[in-house]
Symmetry: C2
Subunit: 147 residues, 2 copies
Amino acid sequence: MSDLHHPQTRMTQQRSVILEELRKLDTHPTADELYQIVRLRLPRISLGTVYRNLVFLTESGQIMRLESAGNTNRFDANMQPHQHVRCVCCGAIADIFPPVMAPETDRIHVPGFARILQSRIEYDGLCEKCAAAKASEEAAAYYPNSA
Amino acid sequence: MSDLHHPQTRMTQQRSVILEELRKLDTHPTADELYQIVRLRLPRISLGTVYRNLVFLTESGQIMRLESAGNTNRFDANMQPHQHVRCVCCGAIADIFPPVMAPETDRIHVPGFARILQSRIEYDGLCEKCAAAKASEEAAAYYPNSA
DNA sequence: CTCCTTGCAAAATATTTGCAAGTAG
DNA sequence: CTACTTGCAAATATTTTGCAAGGAG
């Protein structure tokens, strides 16, 4: 009906490499992390191009933007329904398997909202790296060796 | 055990007004929105102070930071367990009642994660303002009156 | 050829931080 | 008095955007 407003369709080298590299990863990279990776194959690509393509790929439903990712967006090319755990300490995101059914949205009505579109379960956790860092930090506090 | 590292405890006027004003709201304001409100009572307060206090209040468990709020954090002084809907268009957040039980985290194990701390259900929706804006936009496209 | 897309740089947003002065306890 | 806090301004961090040149269809 309003596809008139979706003129972007050209498959450029940049766009295809960005999508290809994102699909290889299950690390839910930030725009900048993906930029660093793509740059190995396309040294002259700019960060702005990565951002513009991530917007395009998200809006055309080819990838997902994970907004619940602290102050930096992360991206996921795995379009199968699944949940994520996010490390409260470093922001790393991992997939949860097996997937859990998303809670239903049919019966929910909220004043001020015209429609409820979808639901999502999210988990907070502590990744192993941060858990280890925290443990050695606490040990240092318990056995202080300076002043 | 490590309260040694939590020296911030002074109740300043700024801190108490920030908390007080946030508690009056169920609009989940951004740091800047809250700053504008607090400024009516404390005209000389700075945005940096608001940010620093929001960090402190979050870390001391008196308020919640809603990180799933697009690219701008929002804050909530309602510490009762409850869920939120977020407008995919403008980012506005509303509370959902009645609260739904959070999915259990006990049986979840994820490679690379030491602990799963908590779970949360989130909803995406379209608020009435944005729904209205979208409707009149589509009408304009359907009945174009210019070129 | 057309106009979507890119690279580059500057701008816009959002959040954090250094420092000297202020103030709660 | 001590040292946590603040206001101010500058610094970071993240994302968006204007523009002329490049390239896909």
